[in-house]
C-alpha cells in the first residue's frame, strides 16, 4: 500500500516536472504573486501581518486548486486515470498518491514563497519555529480536501463544475485558521500560533482519514 502510494506520487511528480524547469516555474510563480500583492495593495498594508498571511494562504489555495485541476486534467487525457484505477489496488493508492505529490509540490512553493514574502516585505518574524510548524500543517491540510472533492465528483456529470463548489467553502475554516496562526507566529503570540496549528493538524488528519476511507469506494 505505502509503496504503491509512493509510486503514484512519483509518477505524478515526474509528469509535471521532468527537469528543474518545473521548480523554477513554481518559484517564479510565487515571486510574481508577492510582487503583485505588495504593488497592488500598497506596501504599508501589505506589510501588516494579518494581510500578508491572508494573501499568502489565498495564493496557496489558488495554487492547490490550479495544480489539482491540472493533475486530473492530464490524468483524463488518453484515459490514463482508468489505466491506473483498473490496476489492483489502484483505487486505494490514487488518493494517497495524489495527496502526497501535491503536498510535496505545495511545500516547495510555500517554503520559497514564504521566504520571498518575508524578505521582500521585510516582515519581522517573532517566532520562526512556530511559523514553520503552522505553515507545514497548513500546507498538509490543503490537498486532502481538494483531492477528495475531485474524486467524489469524478463519476458525476458536471464533474469539473462541482469541484470548486465543493472544495472552496470547505477550505474556508482551515484557511482562516492558517492565516490566524501565521499571523500569530509573525507577531509573537506563541499560544495562539500553537492552538491554530493544533486545529490545522486536526483538519489534516480528519480529511486524510476521510479521504483514505471513502475515496476507494467513491470511485466505483
Amino acid at each position: 500500500m505505502i509503496d504503491r502510494v509512493a509510486l503514484v506520487a512519483t509518477r505524478e511528480l515526474r509528469a509535471e516536472r521532468r527537469q528543474p524547469d518545473g521548480v523554477v516555474a513554481a518559484v517564479t510563480f510565487i515571486a510574481v504573486l508577492v510582487l503583485l500583492e505588495s504593488l497592488v495593495v500598497g506596501p504599508q498594508i501589505a506589510r501588516d501581518a494579518d494581510v500578508a498571511s491572508a494573501l499568502f494562504w489565498l495564493a496557496l489555495a489558488f495554487a492547490t486548486i490550479l495544480a489539482t485541476m491540472r493533475s486530473f486534467d492530464r490524468e483524463l487525457e488518453d484515459d490514463a486515470l482508468e489505466g491506473l484505477v483498473a490496476l489492483p489496488g489502484g483505487r486505494d493508492a490514487l488518493f494517497g498518491g495524489k495527496v502526497l505529490s501535491l503536498t510535496i509540490v505545495l511545500l516547495l512553493v510555500a517554503a520559497i514563497g514564504g521566504l520571498l514574502s518575508l524578505v521582500l516585505l521585510d516582515l519581522p518574524v517573532a517566532l520562526p519555529l512556530h511559523l514553520i510548524v503552522v505553515v507545514l500543517l497548513g500546507v498538509l491540510a490543503l490537498p486532502p480536501i481538494v483531492v477528495v472533492d475531485v474524486v467524489l465528483a469524478l463519476r458525476l456529470r458536471a464533474r469539473a463544475a462541482l469541484v470548486p463548489i465543493l472544495a472552496l467553502p470547505v477550505l474556508v475554516p482551515q484557511l482562516v485558521a492558517a492565516t490566524r496562526g501565521t499571523s500569530a507566529a509573525l507577531s509573537g503570540d506563541a499560544v495562539g500560533a500553537l492552538s491554530w496549528a493544533g486545529l490545522l493538524f486536526a483538519f489534516a488528519v480528519v480529511y486524510t482519514v476521510i479521504g483514505l476511507t471513502i475515496v476507494p469506494a467513491a470511485i466505483e
Partner: protein
C-alpha cells in the same frame, strides 16, 4: 454455470448511464483462451469490457473477476508527460513485478528507439504499440483489449496476433472487442455478440 474455473463472469449485469440502459441483464463467463466481442457501433462492447475491468458500477447484478486484470481501452491509457518506458515501469512496479523485461518488450513492439520520448510526441501507432507491450510486461491472467488493432500497421497487426496467440497458449484469458480482423474468429474459443445492450455468448 462454469463460474468456478472462469477468469471472470457477470451475472444479470445491468448498466445505466445517463438514465439510459446501456447493458441489459448480461450474463457471461470468460474462460481461459480467446473470447471475441463483436457488435455494431454503440452496442455496448466497450461498456462490457469496462464492467469486467471494474470501471463501471452495476445498477444490478454481479461481477466476479479473478485477481489481475489488464484492460487497454480505445485510448492507450498512458500518462502524458512520461515516456513510454516510465509508463510501463509504473504499471509493472505497481503490480509488484519485475521491470527488467520492459526494454525488450518495447523493442519487440518496435518502439525501442522512441521509448524515452514523452508519449504525447509519439505517432498514434507508436503509442498503441507502447500500450500493447503491456500484454507482455504485465503477465496477468485476464486481458481485456478494446479495438487493439486500431492505428497498427501490418507489422503491428502481426505482432499483436502473435501476442494474442501466445497468451492463449499460456492459458491466459483474452477478451478482444474489435470490428476488424474476421480471421481472429479461428483463434477464438468463444464469441460474445453484443447488440443494443444485450449480450449473447456462443
Amino acid at each position: 454455470m462454469r463460474t468456478v474455473q472462469s477468469a471472470a463472469s457477470l451475472h444479470d449485469a445491468t448498466v445505466v448511464l445517463d438514465d439510459r440502459v446501456i447493458l441489459r441483464a448480461v450474463s457471461v463467463a470468460i474462460d481461459p483462451g480467446l473470447t471475441l466481442v463483436r457488435g455494431p457501433n454503440g452496442s455496448g462492447k466497450t461498456t462490457l469490457l469496462r464492467v469486467l475491468a471494474g470501471l463501471v458500477p452495476l445498477a444490478r447484478g454481479d461481477r466476479r473477476v479473478a485477481d489481475g486484470v489488464l484492460y487497454i481501452g480505445h485510448r492507450p491509457m498512458l500518462l502524458r508527460g512520461l515516456t513510454a518506458r516510465e509508463n510501463l515501469e509504473f504499471f509493472v512496479r505497481f503490480r509488484g513485478g519485475d521491470t527488467r523485461g520492459i526494454d525488450g518488450a518495447l523493442r519487440a513492439w518496435g518502439v525501442g528507439e522512441d521509448m524515452d520520448r514523452p508519449v504525447e510526441r509519439l505517432s498514434a501507432g507508436e503509442r498503441r504499440r507502447a500500450a500493447l507491450a503491456r500484454v507482455e510486461t504485465e503477465r496477468v491472467p485476464l486481458l481485456l483489449l478494446d479495438e487493439p488493432f486500431a492505428d497498427l500497421d501490418d507489422a503491428g497487426v502481426t505482432r499483436l496476433r502473435q501476442a494474442i496467440t501466445r497468451a492463449r497458449d499460456d492459458g491466459r484469458a483474452i477478451v478482444v472487442a474489435t470490428h476488424a480482423h474476421r480471421e481472429l474468429d479461428e483463434l477464438a474459443r468463444a464469441q460474445i455478440a453484443v447488440d443494443n445492450g444485450a449480450a449473447t455468448a456462443s
